[in-house]
């Protein structure tokens, strides 16, 4: 049957059923027979684009160079509450690190992981080079050497006869005059080849050809400028596009520009303008919630996530964020309901079962706890995930008072991920209970060097050193702990005690 079908129709059918590889192969065959078949050519370009297509709004991968040498932020010393760079400045509704763990960037951990949540802005070069634990690759040196370029080169490697379209030989002016062809070609160049400069050339020629009346091309030019790091130019293009035609996407892109310029308040205002035009739009509401979350204003973030759920009650990000917020504000049974809802919706992965297990344990539903963790372990895709599940199981073991099991769990976490700082710290606490002081000290030192942003290892090291009479080291560690968590009462107390000791000498 299949062989009798008209090949172009069959290719179209493959494309609609999202069988892009088959579609591209068939188009290649057609192009071998008739190299000037525009329909086959455009279809192949679109199939290849779809294979690697990632929503541009979600993408945000900053390289080390961009972050450290960032000159785009308007105020280098911003006022509190107007910057994403100083997460600690806004303390309204932010959870304390004594309850909710924090990430390397000093933010409370979020309930949902997007490409941009991984970036965060580290303060020092040392922190920037350190591999973030949730992303499996190290941060690229610049964004132009990042994931997208690697993906682009990889897609070219797979085709043995070289790239499908030889970009350097394209006569862009000719294509710019055919708007329909140009749009598909632009997306191919932008997403598949990752050649932003050529894409920009094509877009510029096309928008000229359309006499600057097509908002779509303006948005594309803005996207190119954004990728090239020319934020002000991108802003102009997006604003001009918005004047012609108001689209949700354009609002989102423009907000992304403002976030890159470290102007969260402007981005918030923009989103609110967008909401006037598109009332109840989920993407805009979600954008607001994300900004509040990044500014450490968890209570406002939760309000907006709830607003999102009123419009779309299957929004995974909103459910996950509200759930984790409930868990860390001492309401595990409410969090359990949110995570159960996710399970009912068909989310089925290691992270969800791990969270369910933790919620069950802390909500005292012991029957489900271990089965959830077992399933989480069986669904884990890599060693980092396994390590995190074992780490949480260790907490369950500590909770039921089985220190041997806890010890084994934390050990297993370390076997799976040798850089699991939290596990080192907890293991040290257990060793200390057994009276193994030297081992505990060694473990704590490892933990504090792996994760200098956590206050626990510093504080514990200070306590242990204080007990052993090593007051100098204790004082140094206590100061580090205070830097990581200034409001920690026990640290302040310890420092005060040590100062008294030193004064007596």
């Amino acid at each position: 049957m299949g062989s009798e079908m008209e090949p172009l129709l069959l290719a179209w059918s493959y494309f609609r059923r999202r069988k892009f590889q088959l579609c591209a192969d068939l188009c290649t065959q057609m192009l071998e027979k008739s190299p000037y078949d525009q329909a086959a050519w455009i279809l192949k370009a679109r199939a290849l684009t779809e294979m690697v297509y990632v929503d541009e709004i979600d993408i945000d991968q900053e390289g080390i160079a961009e972050m450290i040498l960032d000159e785009n932020a308007i105020a280098q010393v911003p006022r509190p509450g107007t910057s994403l760079k100083l997460p600690g400045t806004n303390q309204t509704g932010g959870p304390s690190p004594a309850v909710r763990p924090i990430t390397q960037a000093g933010r409370p951990i979020t309930g949902f992981l997007r490409p941009s949540t991984q970036s965060g802005r580290p303060g020092t070069m040392e922190q920037a080079i350190r591999t973030p634990r949730t992303a499996y690759t190290a941060r690229p040196i610049t964004s132009s050497s990042g994931r997208f370029v690697r993906l682009g080169t990889a897609s070219m490697l797979t085709s043995p006869d070289g790239p499908f379209i030889n970009l350097s030989r394209l006569n862009l002016t000719k294509y710019a005059q055919k708007p329909k062809l140009a749009k598909a070609l632009f997306e191919y160049i932008f997403h598949h080849e990752n050649d932003v400069k050529t894409a920009l050339d094509l877009a510029a020629l096309s928008t000229e050809h359309s006499q600057y009346k097509d908002w779509w091309w303006k948005v594309q030019i803005g996207k190119c400028y954004y990728r090239l790091g020319m934020y002000r130019e991108a802003e102009k293009q997006f604003k001009s596009a918005l004047k012609q035609q108001e689209m949700v996407d354009t609002f989102l892109y423009l907000a992304k520009v403002y976030i890159s310029l470290d102007q969260p308040v402007t981005a918030l205002n923009l989103f609110k303008q967008g909401l006037d035009k598109f009332p109840g739009e989920v993407a805009l509401l979600c954008g607001i919630a994300r900004i509040y979350e990044e500014m450490n204003n968890i209570s406002s973030a939760t309000e907006y996530y709830k607003e999102v759920l009123k419009q779309d009650n299957t929004h995974v990000e909103a459910i996950a964020c509200i759930g984790s917020n409930h868990f860390y504000s001492d309401q595990p049974e409410v969090a359990l309901r949110f995570y159960r809802r996710l399970l009912q919706m068909g989310v089925y992965n290691c992270q969800l079962f791990n969270n369910l297990g933790l919620c069950c344990f802390y909500a005292q539903q012991y029957d489900m706890t271990l089965t959830s963790f077992e399933r989480a372990l069986s669904l884990a895709e890599n060693e980092e995930e396994v390590a995190d599940v074992w780490y949480n199981l260790g907490h369950v073991a500590v909770g039921i008072g089985d220190t041997n099991l806890a010890h084994q769990c934390f050990r297993l976490a370390l076997v799976n991920n040798n850089n699991h700082a939290e596990a080192y710290n907890n293991l040290a606490v257990l060793e200390m209970r057994k009276g193994h002081v030297e081992q505990a000290r060694a473990l704590l030192q490892t933990a504090s060097s792996l994760a200098p942003h956590m206050y626990e290892p510093h504080f514990n090291f200070a306590t242990v050193s204080d007990k052993m009479g090593d007051l100098q080291r204790s004082y140094i560690a206590a100061q580090k702990s205070e830097a990581a968590f200034p409001d920690h009462v026990d640290t302040q107390h310890l420092i005060k005690q040590l100062k008294q000791h030193f004064a007596m000498l």
Binding site: I59, A154, N349, Y362
Partner: protein, 92 residues
Amino acid sequence: MPKAAGKRIRRTFRKKLSNNSDMAEMKSMFREVLPKQGQLSVEDITTMVLCKPKLLPLKSLTLEKLEKMQQAAQDTIRQQEMAEKEQPQISH
């Protein structure tokens, strides 16, 4: 000197027990004892802190797709490298 919550607080007080005739009365009616005199001593133990349990963040579809694509790309590169390595061995 009273301290923050979470510390072990031990109250010691001295009060003379009443004699046997009062015992029957005490049994019938339990009265709370709030000592107004005596010593209050606080034993201050700094306990070590455990890191908190960690809810794992769910991944967005975009992130999953990116990771999948990257994995696939790395696999193909590895395969091609392996193929390149094998070829000269055959020619030897």
